[in-house]
Symmetry: C2
Subunit: 364 residues, 2 copies
């Protein structure tokens, strides 16, 4: 997508054909910094400190990180050592292991001298494949927005409510929930996105507002609390969110605060769609009630980051030290509240049969 | 209620029997400051800058402000002049005018020399009457908590979810939604309150956490986004919130973010009660859909206040300058989502007939 008018991905091979560039997302929305990764350890650091985030991007960064490692030491021992270090950068990220497995599979059995080139090639394929999947999600979701656009008088924008950041910054390009929005905008359909700030980590305010605005899509930031009111007063035509994990029966695990928005959408007859690559469906789990919800550091609730008047990044306490705070990171939106799942293979009902029809090889 | 172990109201006559003390709520939760008001202009300033807030407390402060004015100039002209200045301090506060009317009524016709004493007496009666109303709300709501307490095994706390600040800081004492909680706690019933921070102004984090903790009631701060998850996972026994205005059919206008919590409560079979003095029922309006919702300064969404590491009050920007933001201040919870209205006259159904039964003289 575009930044300052130029098209970008979140990760790419630099002009020197070997070093890797990423966007430092910890500095957004305040400053634009595209660090150059020249060693595996730098890739691991970028993952660990969340300069890169979002499952697909973490996977791609790990893959390129292994390619960087093999450039320096293509031995079996070097491969093993680099894998371990990258895996330790964010142990719970499923895509990280997947990205590493892909590279390992591509180079195992090759002569050491051929390994780095093969790793770069496979990493590039991975990144391209992530982009293709997200583009497909966008194409599948686009007709939903086009249909709403046709119903609008004049050129009034289609009003979309999203949550958190399910945009291109979390992927390699396009995003999931925002992919249909970018495609609609690029085709001249007038759209406007309500962006909840997404407390406690404020990914909506910091990332979604930034990426949509940079690409030219009109946005309005709101407190998470305001979403119900906007839905109640007919100010939203369609909800579009992403997901971290969808159960095989269609329950949606996503950023905390998704569930109340889905309830408000249903109560007001507004369609609520969830966009996802099929790879994030958890075929092992039937009901969202079975999914353990990660409890994160309470400091995310009791403190907040932003920019001082003098333009310096800073942090404030919102409550006195020692205030007890709970910080569940995700909630579960039951399948019954979800109008449909937008995948790279099409849109299906959020149900076991809906998913099985699109992914018969998985549902087995 | 208690602060540092000592009982307080939010406004009181000082030991000198004439100057007025208030709690400077703009400094909470960071510092405890009880300024002395010696002149009407200081009372007007305290109202205008929100050192005092909440309808009942604003009314009481205006009443005492008029008493202070009459101490200096008890003439008709002095009375008129002081009324105008106090009214201008927060023109939209209905209780402000009401408090002034009460004092004006009490002193009109009296000799100038008798007016100040009569004004103090009437202001004291007003404050006492606010306290009595809130105490009654507490007594009416208490059995709800006691019944839940009896169902709990051992001494496990009754789990309450509130929103914003509907506690004693918004009133003269006790509060509305929190009055039953304080009474339960004082009688030895184990209670625990989940307090949503209540973006964008964070009254939950800044005021509700503080006042409950000072009185010894256990609390846990959460992001507003987390309320749905807690309700979904059976972590809440009862929701108790306040209201700014209730329509005669029982629709509840309250701080933005109330409505989604009511939806999540209903979806999970958790009772959702709204506590209110009968004086806040708007008998002129039937449906909440007719109520215009105040749109406040977007700066409340784009900026946030807190304490720096060095202990200084400060403000941060959350998004780059110029980011569009919307800030509706209230939402409407339809009567159908409200289990009951807890008033000083008892608990009734949130409906026209329910309210008419408790307030037959109003429902006419």
């Amino acid at each position: 997508m575009r930044v300052n008018g130029e098209p970008y991905r979140t990760i790419w091979v630099d002009e020197d054909s070997w070093s890797i560039r990423i966007i430092d997302q910890t500095r957004l929305p305040w400053s634009w910094h595209v660090p150059r990764l020249t060693r595996m350890a730098e890739a691991a650091e970028a993952i660990a400190t969340m300069r890169v985030r979002g499952a697909p991007l973490i996977g791609a960064t790990a893959a390129y990180g292994l390619a960087l490692a093999l450039r320096e030491d293509p031995s079996d021992w070097g491969l093993e050592e680099a894998r371990d270090q990258l895996l330790g950068a964010r142990p719970t990220a499923v895509n990280l292991r997947w990205g590493l497995d892909q590279i390992t599979g591509a180079v195992t059995g090759l002569a050491p001298g051929d390994r780095a080139a093969a790793a770069y090639e496979r990493a590039g394929e991975l990144a391209d494949s992530e982009v293709a999947t997200c583009r497909r999600i966008g194409e599948e979701g686009l007709p939903l927005l086009e249909a709403l656009g046709r119903e609008r008088p004049g050129n009034e924008p289609v009003q979309i409510l999203t949550h958190c950041n399910a945009g291109w910054l979390a992927c390699v390009d396009w995003g999931t929930a925002l992919a249909p929005v970018y495609q609609a905008h690029d085709r001249g359909l007038s759209v406007h996105v309500w962006v909840p700030e997404t407390r406690p980590r404020n990914q909506g305010a910091a990332l979604t507002v930034w990426e949509l605005s940079q690409h030219g899509v009109p946005v309005t930031l709101i407190a998470d609390n305001a979403a119900g009111h906007l839905l109640g007063r007919g100010r939203v035509d369609l909800c579009l969110v992403g997901t971290d994990r969808t159960t095989r029966e269609g329950d949606v695990v996503n950023k905390i605060g998704t569930y109340p928005k889905a309830l408000a959408a249903q109560a007001n007859g507004v369609p609520f769609y969830v966009a996802l690559p099929g790879s994030t469906v958890d075929w092992e789990v039937a009901s969202g009630a079975e999914v353990p919800i990660e409890e994160r550091d309470s400091r995310e609730v009791t403190h907040i980051s932003g920019l001082t008047e003098r333009g310096e990044a800073s942090e404030l306490a919102l409550v006195p030290a020692g205030t007890p705070a709970a910080n569940p990171a995700f909630d579960v939106t039951p399948a019954g509240l979800v109008t449909g799942l937008v995948t790279e293979r099409g849109i299906c009902e959020a149900s076991g049969s809906g998913l099985a029809e699109l992914y018969p090889e998985q549902a087995g």
